[in-house]
């Protein structure tokens, strides 16, 4: 019988003793020889159950480092499919995984890294109906999601279930990391009681993201998770770590628990999960932000009018670096500069505003309408739709 090393079962324990096999001792030797981890710490890792919500930019380094560290049970939640645009930063996946469900590709990769641990997969959209069930068996939840409704859902579920929520979020080259839901510590709603209205804060698909950024932030989330498990060091409870990759600076802000927080305060008013899409002002995942009576023109209609020789003025409200990728020969005024440069536009002409997907240009059309422009249309679907429906030689990005 192989030699087993571990904590012997005592009269208090009802479970069989958790031990490390000889192979595990060798695998984790670099942990075991450190007093901060040691055998105690490694056994805690082996018995720990961590749920990783999202296997994308943040989830990739998170999953890899938790598996590498020997976290005994890792749950993965993701309903998405691997896309080539993911590969710029989602290092769990390879080119051969494009088209596969992320959860399968992630589980395969992590099981290869560490076959001794248990990987649970939930190919599901986390929602109020299933969140408490999915979260309940885990000790720690790590939020690697990419949208506000899910962040509020995860936060509330963690507070209701009493589980720490290791939070990380990113935008372009900036990140935020903290630990919510720790006993006595703040929760997400203590920091941000309400989400921004849809369309006000750009997503990665619109704002872009430096590939390494979720790599750094997700790895910090992994570090915090391991520290919570082994009970060593100072976790980021009550501390918001801000990271700027371009300046390569870390800053720290104090986070306080809000005694009047509706979820974790002294007199909570939110004791059950709510409709988070409604809370965030979004009806359905793909709900467009455009106003219902916004004048629109489809790419095909635009092409037809241009071919006819109509005198249309194309206004491109994207950024200069996007114009360099592809353009419709439009006049470039980035949306952020529109109010200052509106006098460059002739309101007597027919103007078609476009951006990448039709959202920013919808904002531009609304602004110009308020400024008195009457002959203004939004190009529905943006230059992406133009590439799909009119000219496939225009690259999608």
């Amino acid at each position: 019988m192989a030699t087993k090393i571990g904590i012997p079962a005592g009269p208090e324990s009802r479970k069989p003793a958790v031990t490390l096999s000889k192979e595990e001792v060798l695998r984790y030797s670099r942990h075991l020889i450190m007093p901060e981890v040691g055998m105690d710490g490694q056994l805690k890792l082996k018995q720990a159950k961590v749920l990783c919500i999202g296997t994308g930019g943040l989830g990739a380094p998170l999953g890899l480092y938790l598996a590498a560290a020997g976290v005994g049970r890792i749950g993965l939640v993701d309903f998405d499919v691997v896309d080539s645009t993911n590969l710029q930063r989602q290092v769990l996946f390879g080119t051969s995984d494009v088209g596969r469900p992320k959860i399968e590709a992630a589980a395969d990769r992590l099981r290869d890294l560490n076959p001794d641990i248990q990987i649970d997969t939930f190919e599901a959209h986390l929602a109020s109906e299933n969140a408490l069930d999915i979260l309940k068996d885990y000790d720690i939840v790590v939020d690697g999601t990419d949208n506000f409704p899910t962040r509020y859902l995860v936060n509330d579920a963690c507070v209701i279930l009493g589980k720490p929520n290791v939070y990380g979020s990113i935008f372009r080259f900036e990140g935020q990391i903290t630990v919510f839901g720790y006993p006595g510590g703040p929760c997400y709603r203590c920091l941000y009681p309400e989400p921004p209205p849809p369309g006000l804060v750009p997503s990665c698909a619109e704002g872009g993201v430096l590939g390494v950024l979720p790599g750094i932030v997700g790895t910090i989330q992994a570090a915090e998770t391991l520290k919570l498990i082994i009970g060593k060091g100072e976790p980021l409870v009550g501390r918001l770590l801000l990271f700027d990759a371009l300046a390569m600076k870390f800053r720290e802000l104090k986070l306080r628990k809000n005694p009047e927080c509706p979820v974790c305060g002294e007199h909570p008013t939110v004791t059950k999960l709510i409709d988070y899409a409604e809370f965030c002002g979004i009806r359905g995942e793909e709900a467009p932000v455009t106003a219902t009576n916004l004048p629109e023109i489809t790419p095909r209609e635009l092409k037809a009018r241009l071919d006819r020789g109509d005198d249309l003025y194309i206004l491109d409200v994207r950024e200069p670096h996007e114009y360099q990728i592809c353009n419709l020969d439009g006049h470039l005024i980035p949306l952020g500069e529109l109010s200052r440069r509106v006098n460059e536009l002739d309101s007597s002409r027919e103007i078609v505003a476009h951006c990448r997907s039709g959202k920013r240009s919808a904002d531009a059309v609304q602004f110009l309408q308020k400024a008195g422009f009457r002959k203004i249309w939004n190009l529905k679907g943006g230059i992406l739709a133009w590439s799909d429906d009119v000219d496939p030689s225009v690259p999608r990005y």
Binding site: D146, F148, R172, E174, L191, Y192, C204, V209
Partner: protein, 94 residues
């Protein structure tokens, strides 16, 4: 007081692409007014129609949240840093 206001990435487009702006102000309220005075477009991102700071935007003086100080009445000292920290979520294509 000369103070530095740090502009978070999502709002830099509306602040002339600057990452921080120096203003003269005695309180946080004055600093934010000076900021939106210089950059009119920032106003709607920071303030709701009723003039109150939007709830997904937090403001810190050095490392303290103004909600736990005196809010926009919080007095500033020379060289203080006022940080605007909006909620960000990364990822999803809307």
């Amino acid at each position: 007081m000369a103070v530095k206001v740090i502009i978070p990435t999502p709002l830099r487009a509306y602040a002339g692409k600057q990452e921080s702006v120096e203003v003269q102000a005695a309180t946080v309220g004055e600093a934010l007014s000076a900021l939106t005075g210089k950059f009119e477009e920032l106003k709607k991102h920071l303030f709701a129609d009723d003039g109150r700071l939007r709830s997904f935007v937090n403001v810190y003086v050095n490392d303290e949240d103004i909600r736990y100080l005196q809010k926009d009445q919080t007095r500033l000292s020379e060289g203080d840093t006022v940080s605007i920290v909006p909620s960000i979520a990364g990822g999803a294509r809307n």
